[in-house]
Structure formats: structure tokens, C-alpha cells
């Protein structure tokens, strides 16, 4: 059968990565961006459980409440909070880069550090507010 699409004759080129380049802060934050993204993917299950539990009945909500109030639940929620803020700040960083700003060595490194420190700071602030409210 005739085809207009040329068949692939050799494997696609791969850029050298982990075994070639030493770890830099921008590389670490790039990896962290992907990992936090994947973690948030799983974390949405927790949001779905919360919404379904709250929309069902008091018993269902009680089960969710018990889990989220437990040590494991609080750890997961803390991790989710950090992943959300880290990924959010990482997204802003990517936007700044996409617009062509802060590409040079000192600025891009500072931006990467800002993502890390900002994410941790915002997480602590939100949890401090949560415990004050509670």
C-alpha cells in the first residue's frame, strides 16, 4: 500500500544527560518540576476523594477526615502543598525563560534557587496559617 510518510530508518537522536553533565541547580529544579508534576497527578486523587466524600454522607466524609488528619495523611497533604507551590513557581520560571529573560548564568541560577526557597517558604506559611486557623 502506497504511503506518503517516510519510514524511520534510524533511531531518533538522544541528547546526553545524567551521565554526561554534572548536577547544576537548574538541572535539579528541572527534574524537581517533573517529579512534583507527577506527584500532583497522583495528588488529584486525594482531591477527588475529598469531593466525593463531602458530596456523599457524613460517614464517608468521616473516613476521609480520619485519613487526612492522621500522620500519614498530614505528611501527604504537606507534600502535596509543597509540590503545588514548587510546580507553580517552576511554571512562572519557565514563563520568564520562554519570554527570553533571565537566561544568563547568575540570573538563571538565582531563579532556580528562588523556586526552591519560595516553594518551601510558601508551604510553611500556608501550614502556619492552617494551624493558626485550627
Amino acid at each position: 500500500m502506497a504511503t506518503s510518510v517516510p519510514s524511520r530508518t534510524r533511531p531518533r537522536p538522544l541528547s546526553p544527560h545524567l551521565s554526561i553533565y554534572r548536577v547544576t541547580v537548574t538541572m535539579a529544579m528541572s527534574i524537581a518540576h517533573r517529579i512534583t508534576g507527577a506527584a500532583l497527578y497522583a495528588g488529584v486523587l486525594l482531591l477527588a476523594w475529598f469531593l466525593i466524600a463531602a458530596s456523599s454522607d457524613a460517614a464517608g466524609f468521616g473516613a476521609f477526615s480520619a485519613f487526612i488528619g492522621s500522620l500519614l495523611g498530614q505528611l501527604i497533604l504537606f507534600g502535596f502543598t509543597w509540590a503545588l507551590f514548587h510546580h507553580l513557581l517552576g511554571g512562572i520560571r519557565h514563563f520568564v525563560w520562554d519570554e527570553g529573560y533571565c537566561m544568563d548564568a547568575p540570573l538563571r541560577e538565582q531563579l532556580a534557587w528562588a523556586t526552591l526557597i519560595g516553594g518551601i517558604t510558601l508551604t510553611i506559611v500556608v501550614w502556619a496559617i492552617a494551624y493558626v486557623v485550627r
Partner: protein
């Protein structure tokens, strides 16, 4: 798409999806669009959840019966799940090949769609019952 004989295809049909970006521009644009939407929506989401931490079942139900948090939650869920579906798809095509890639892509889209429907249904049920 590529199985039809060449003489049955228009010039446009022969070249579509052969560019370096293929359908990637759509995904790239949707990713940026949802990123922008998620910036304020994530902050709103955290705000809503912070407002719910000290509430019991009835308190949560009461809070999530107001239009504003419900609309913001729905927007967050829709933008977030579109964003995560595209994101996971790019992770899958980076690390998986062959049959595993196909199954993973299938699972990713089905899981995301189901999760979105579940979240939307539950949020609307909270709002209207």
C-alpha cells in the same frame, strides 16, 4: 491517516502532521493556557482549602454550597486535569516506547477523563444537594 493511497489525498493532506511540531503546538498552547489559568486558580484553591480545614461535615457542605468556591473549584479541576493529562503524556513519550507507550497513553487519558468527571460530578452534587 497514512494508509490511504497518495493520489486520493490533497496536497494539504499529504503534508499535515509531517512538520517538526506535528500536533505539538496544540499541546504546547493548551499547556501554557492552563498554566496561566492555574496560577490564580491554584491560589484560590489553597484559599478555599484553608477555609475548610477547621470545618466538620456540615461546615464543609455549607461552605461548598456558595457559588464562588464551587465555580473556582470547577475551574481548578478542569484546567488542572487538562494540564496534568498533557504533562503526563509528555512524560510517557519521553520514557516509554512500543506497546508500553500505547497502553500508558490510553491509561493516562482514561484516568484523567474519569477523574475529571468524578470531581465535576461531586462538586456539582455538593453545590446542588
Amino acid at each position: 491517516m497514512s494508509q490511504t493511497p497518495a493520489h486520493l489525498r490533497t496536497p494539504l493532506g499529504r503534508v499535515r502532521f509531517l512538520g517538526s511540531a506535528r500536533s505539538g503546538v496544540t499541546d504546547s498552547w493548551l499547556m501554557r493556557l492552563t498554566s496561566f489559568a492555574l496560577l490564580p486558580l491554584s491560589i484560590a484553591f489553597v484559599w478555599i482549602i484553608l477555609d475548610l480545614v477547621n470545618r466538620d461535615y456540615n461546615g464543609v457542605r455549607a461552605e461548598l454550597s456558595y457559588p464562588l468556591p464551587v465555580i473556582l473549584l470547577l475551574a481548578f479541576v478542569v484546567a488542572g486535569i487538562v494540564h496534568m493529562e498533557i504533562g503526563m503524556r509528555s512524560i510517557i513519550v519521553d520514557y516509554l516506547g512500543g506497546h508500553a507507550r500505547g497502553w500508558a497513553l490510553l491509561a493516562n487519558t482514561c484516568f484523567s477523563a474519569l477523574l475529571a468527571l468524578a470531581c465535576i460530578y461531586a462538586t456539582l452534587r455538593l453545590a446542588f444537594t
